[in-house]
């Protein structure tokens, strides 16, 4: 009996190793290509670098404008996440803490936006932003980003805040803490784990966001990273080496965040899985 068992285990491990090559291989490939020049890649697409071309990152950053795209992405995503955290936490605090007429109705109304297909808002958002001079601006894109991530942020935070024992609030009240102070001095500090989860989740989703950016930004100066890469790909189809470098510039921040906060990120994503 033990021998077949060993064999099945070995087979299983080989299968898993193959799947790993399948799922992680493309990253290894693109990171190697990001350090090789296009002629080298054309000569042998799957070769290892003969000489490591770190300078390609500098070229991509300056000549190919990836620095500008990176800066735009950072600006939009960081401000959107900051606004989201404050707005989402305030709304979540309100829904979790106070009983008032229409509490559940409003909560459900905002939350239901999570299943709206983006097309139903995107054409009119285009019109609205054009009308109010927000089209092709980072501010406009930031506000739209806040609106698309708000339901999930509010949902995750509300379910966490609702578990904070009410006695704490009563005690704070009796100590003379006002309704306004309570949010800053009680809910926010206690809610840090959930807030961190939403920050990381929102950062990754918005960093990767493409559809709204492609509709609402046409100006080269305002492009975010995904948009910049897509346009670069369209213009310089053949320059595979440089595209690969650009892809790495987009991937690295996400991987860094994942490496630092993998547990929180996964918890946030699994919370999102019940977002129905």
């Amino acid at each position: 009996m033990p021998i077949p068992r060993v064999w099945t285990h070995a087979l299983l491990l080989i299968g898993l190793a193959l799947y790993t090559v399948f799922s992680a291989g493309p990253f290894a490939w693109v990171s190697i290509m990001s350090l090789r020049t296009t002629p080298e890649i054309s000569a042998s697409p799957y070769g290892l670098p003969e000489r490591i071309h770190w300078d390609k990152f500098l070229t991509a950053w300056t000549t190919s404008h990836y620095g500008m795209y990176f800066w735009n992405s950072t600006l939009v995503v960081v401000s959107a996440v900051a606004i989201l955290t404050i707005l989402g936490a305030m709304a979540a605090h309100c829904f979790a803490r106070y009983r008032f007429r229409g509490n559940r109705l409003l909560f459900f109304l905002i939350f239901s936006a999570i299943i709206f297909p983006p097309q139903v808002t995107i054409i009119s958002l285009f019109q609205v932003l054009v009308k109010y001079g927000l089209f092709n601006t980072r501010a406009g894109l930031t506000l739209v980003y806040v609106s698309i991530q708000l339901p999930l942020t509010m949902y995750i935070l509300e379910s966490f805040f609702a578990q904070i024992p009410q006695e704490l609030y009563e005690a704070a009240k009796i100590d003379g803490c006002s309704d306004y102070n309570i949010f800053w001095r009680l809910t926010l500090p206690i809610g840090v784990p959930a807030i961190a989860t939403t920050i990381i989740l929102n950062f990754i989703s918005l960093w990767n966001e493409f559809l709204y950016a492609v509709v609402l930004i046409t100006d080269e100066e305002m492009r975010t990273l995904p948009l910049g890469i897509q346009k670069f790909m369209g213009d310089q189809m053949q320059d595979i080496g440089m595209i690969a470098t650009g892809l790495m510039i987009a991937i690295v921040p996400v991987i860094v965040v994942y490496a630092l906060f993998s547990e929180k990120l996964i918890r946030g994503m699994t919370a999102g899985a019940v977002k129905l």
């Binding site: 898993l16 799947y19 790993t20 399948f22 799922s23 992680a24 493309p26 490939w29 693109v30 799957y46 305030m90 709304a91 309100c94 979790a96 106070y98 009983r99 008032f100 409003l106 109304l109 905002i110 936006a113 299943i115 709206f116 297909p117 983006p118 097309q119 808002t121 995107i122 054409i123 009119s124 285009f126 019109q127 609205v128 506000l143 609106s147 708000l150 609702a162 578990q163 009410q166 609030y169 009563e170 009796i174 100590d175 309704d179 949010f183 990754i204 990767n208 493409f210 559809l211 509709v215 995904p226 948009l227 890469i229 987009a250 990120l265 996964i266 994503m269 699994t270 899985a273 129905l276």
Partner: protein, 347 residues
Amino acid sequence: MGKLSLSIPPAFFPLLVEGPAMAKSVTTMSAVSTSEGLLSTRPEVIQRVRGGPAQAPWGAIMVYLTPALLVYLAFTMYPVVLTFYNSFHVIKPRGAEEYVGLANFITLFTKDPTFWRAVANTMIWATVAPVADVGTGLVLALCLYAKVPFARFFRVAWFTPVLISYVVVGILWMWIYNYDWGIANQFLRTVGLGAWAHSWIGDPATALWALIFAHAWKWAGFNMVVCLAALFALPSEVLEAAELDNCGWFRKLVHIIIPMLRATLLNLLILAFVGKMKVFDLVWIMTRGGPLWSTETVSTYVYKRAFEWNTFDLGYPSAVAAVWFIVVMAFVIGLTWLFRQRERLEY
């Protein structure tokens, strides 16, 4: 939880006031003896506790809720309403709009084969992908749950594609599918199946499947993580009991694990289904709906009609979006309701 509190039952009162209220009573009534002071302040304290959340503090509620509500109304609700309004109009640049009644919808349902092609492609995607995604995810999760060696490494390697943006995934897979030097064809040529080498996304017959495959590559890890969380939440006694009964792993899987993961799996299936009904990014980057509409989805069609075609009309794509909005909502509500019903019937 947490929404109790408004009027605090008198029984809890001593518990609540014990610490802080006593201190307060001492400071305000310092001249009076402690016991008397407590007694005399009690009604006042009750008043204050009750006066808190019981009568909703509308001022605070307004302050907390208004910013989020404004964003929601301006950037979600108003655009949705506007889309429905637009769908009854022809809208040309510079604000000229003309009321056309149901004309857009009539064209859409009777004279627009491209739209129906897009619907067919989207529905194929939305039915095939959930099975592929959730199936792969479950198998991977079971492997990790069975404590294979290097589980931590495997989990990271399998999960990483989830985090990568569609732009990156799309470009990577365009290279993988490249006819001349893409790894897919290189692999076929090395193992002697060079005749099968194919321009995977250039051929209308295979393009949609190539995209579905790339999409599943990205999402399997997500389903794995959710399944894994659900697996670890299973009561271990049941599985141990099955082991004592000499239950083989396959039967354990079919008769115990899958039934117990039902809720999670159904949730994931609905999520994948609805997600695929909105699919845009990957298609837009890899094929733009081509070749010959073979990968056109409803989302890419809306985008094309609104921003790419030279019709300069935002009314018609709004009609498509409005119809699709209703379809998606109907599916979400219908599927959730259906699964709830079945759950109720079973117990």
